[in-house]
């Protein structure tokens, strides 16, 4: 996706301390190869994912929630009653 640019990050900002922790981190987490790729063709998985419906909240749930909010806004005294029945 992006060509490696080893000099683009500010070398001048590095102190011996940060340089050392950088080296330790690099040793602990080897770099990913530039030619790494998926082990299989992912297109069938993408098609399956596209076919799967996302989780949707039914419209009447939204309407009910909206109605409750409107009721609470119009009649704040009704809030304890609503909470009692929840």
């Amino acid at each position: 996706m992006t060509k490696m640019n080893h000099n683009s990050n500010h070398e001048s900002e590095r102190t011996p301390e940060t340089e050392r922790i950088n080296e330790v981190l690099k040793a602990a987490m080897p770099r990913i190869a530039d030619d790494a790729g998926p082990a299989r063709d992912l297109w069938p998985d993408v098609l399956r994912r596209l076919d799967r419906e996302p989780v949707r909240v039914p419209w009447f749930d939204w309407a009910l929630a909206g109605g409750l909010v409107a009721l609470a806004a119009a009649f704040p005294a009704a809030i304890p009653v609503l909470l009692y029945y929840l």
Binding site: M1, N5, A27, A28, R31, I32, P38, A39, V46
Partner: protein
């Protein structure tokens, strides 16, 4: 950009499924690699690549061809990877197999022992995900700060700050374990 690519991107923006497949075939490896650089696990990177392209397809109408496909895809991929990291418990990210692999890998620096490498990798997984992403891309993968900033939707200064904070927290964690890097 060749005219044909521009046409494909324009058709994709209009929701053309064939154009989407062409784009997928062209960019799946680069998107996969970008995610792999963040999550460090091939199987997870494959799953998240699928999730990323699903999100890309759903957001096709918001694609701005003037700004290029790759930065846009990279940004979506980064957020998919970040969501995955946030949902995952840190201690599950270093498996015993990964530990033995880390212990066996030859880093070229004999001063850094296998035990330190394993503990560093474990300590790194305990950092907040947004710090880890910045640090792994900047320090380990040596990606330009500007590219990281674009992919995270933050400034270059914020990237540098996150890297600095990540390294400081990492050093503190290691020192608490008696390791002085």
């Amino acid at each position: 950009m060749p005219e044909s690519s521009k046409n494909v991107l324009d058709r994709f923006r209009q929701g053309d499924a064939d154009a989407f497949e062409v784009i997928f075939r062209e960019h799946q490896c680069t998107v996969f690699r970008w995610i792999l650089r963040i999550v460090r696990d091939t199987g997870t990177a494959e799953d998240l690549t699928v999730e990323t392209f699903w999100k890309i397809y759903r957001a096709h109408a918001r694609f701005d061809s003037a700004r290029g496909f790759e930065p846009w895809a990279r940004r979506i991929a980064t957020h998919v990877a970040l969501d995955w990291m946030r949902a995952r418990k840190p201690e599950r990210e270093i498996t015993p197999e990964m530990e033995s692999m880390l212990a066996a890998v030859n880093t070229g620096d004999p001063g850094i022992q296998a035990e330190i490498r394993v503990k560093t990798a474990q300590a790194f997984t305990r950092l907040p995900p947004k710090l880890r992403v910045a640090a792994v891309l900047a320090v380990v993968e040596e990606q330009p700060h500007k590219v990281i900033a674009e992919s995270l939707g933050i400034t270059v200064t914020a990237v540098k700050l996150r890297v600095f904070r990540a390294l400081r927290l990492l050093r503190k964690d290691l020192e608490q374990q008696g390791i002085r890097p």
